[in-house]
């Protein structure tokens, strides 16, 4: 029973990483490549670690380490993706021709690197409760 579970977790994790690898090859622009890679890598690594934790049910230390690695992986991967994506947008990486919408265009201040929310200028934005 437990071996079936381990096999399932291993397989799904490996397939997730494989899909991320195919995604790097096939995706047409940088943002989509980033978008595919980060999540699938986190999910795949997490599932492989989880199957390792199930493989040693007696060893509490192995499970603790596996859970700690999963925790820090999920905590740090989105931050890295955020910074890479922000930098890529700032230096003007090209978007795919099929991109339908870009709300971020013109929001950056080129000198101070500050990003405005654009509420004062745009009329169609959703109103906020005053902070």
């Amino acid at each position: 029973m437990i071996s079936i579970l381990i096999g399932l977790l291993c397989t799904i994790g490996a397939v997730a990483i494989l899909i991320a690898a195919i995604g790097i090859l096939r995706m047409p622009d940088f943002y989509l490549r980033l978008s595919v890679t980060v999540k699938a890598a986190t999910l795949g690594g997490g599932l492989l670690l989880l199957s390792a934790a199930f493989y040693f049910p007696e060893e509490v230390s192995v499970t603790t380490k596996a859970l700690a690695i999963i925790f820090f992986l999920t905590l740090t991967a989105p931050v890295a993706a955020h910074l890479i994506g922000r930098t890529a947008y700032f230096i003007g990486t090209e978007k795919w021709k099929g991109t339908v919408r870009d709300d971020l265009a013109g929001m950056y201040d080129k000198d101070t690197h500050q990003l405005s929310s654009g509420d004062a200028t745009e009329g169609d934005s959703v109103s906020h409760p005053s902070s």
Binding site: L32, K39, P57, T74, D103, L104, M107, L115, S116, S117
Partner: protein, 158 residues
């Protein structure tokens, strides 16, 4: 709230010490028994926050898992079939989260769901810029995140 959580932890460790089996499944079982005991003893008290929050955390975790698997299957299907169905776009998302901690958690959760990626947070902390892979309708997407992740997350934190 914190007091009840610590009490629950103490009960779980007591259970582990009494049974003498140190493993995660046994610890979780002890935690569940401790939670049930505290819930029974706390029925006449006025502060029920801890007992509504723990089921909500579990519910949020399951919801996140479901969303992640659903979006992963969608992205995987698009990748292994020859034709692209994507309509990528960058959406401005006005958020209700205010403090640093809330924004951090919300952006982590959104970034970890396949198909959506945080590009930046505006300087006045009102707006998130999200790169979306399958953007059919902007308002529908914003409504989906607001009703799904953000509402559940803020219910837990606040």
């Amino acid at each position: 709230m914190v007091k009840q959580f610590l009490m629950n932890l103490l009960l779980a460790f007591t259970w582990v010490a009494l049974t003498g089996v140190l493993s995660y499944s046994n610890f979780l079982f002890g935690f569940a028994i401790g939670f049930f005991l505290l819930w029974v003893m706390n029925r006449n008290e006025s502060d029920h926050r801890y007992f509504t929050r723990v089921p909500k955390i579990i519910g949020f975790f399951l919801y996140f898992l479901y969303e992640m698997i659903r979006a992963n299957v969608q992205v995987a299907y698009d990748l292994i079939t020859p034709k692209f169905f994507m309509q990528p776009g960058i959406v401005k998302y006005p958020m209700n989260a205010k403090s640093d901690f809330e924004i951090n958690l919300l952006s982590t959760v959104i970034s970890l769901t396949p198909g959506t990626l945080i590009l930046d947070v505006s300087e006045d902390r009102k707006v998130l810029y999200i790169h979306v892979m399958y953007l059919k309708d902007k308002d529908q997407f914003i409504q989906q995140i607001k009703d799904g992740f953000e509402r559940r997350l803020l219910e837990i934190i606040r």
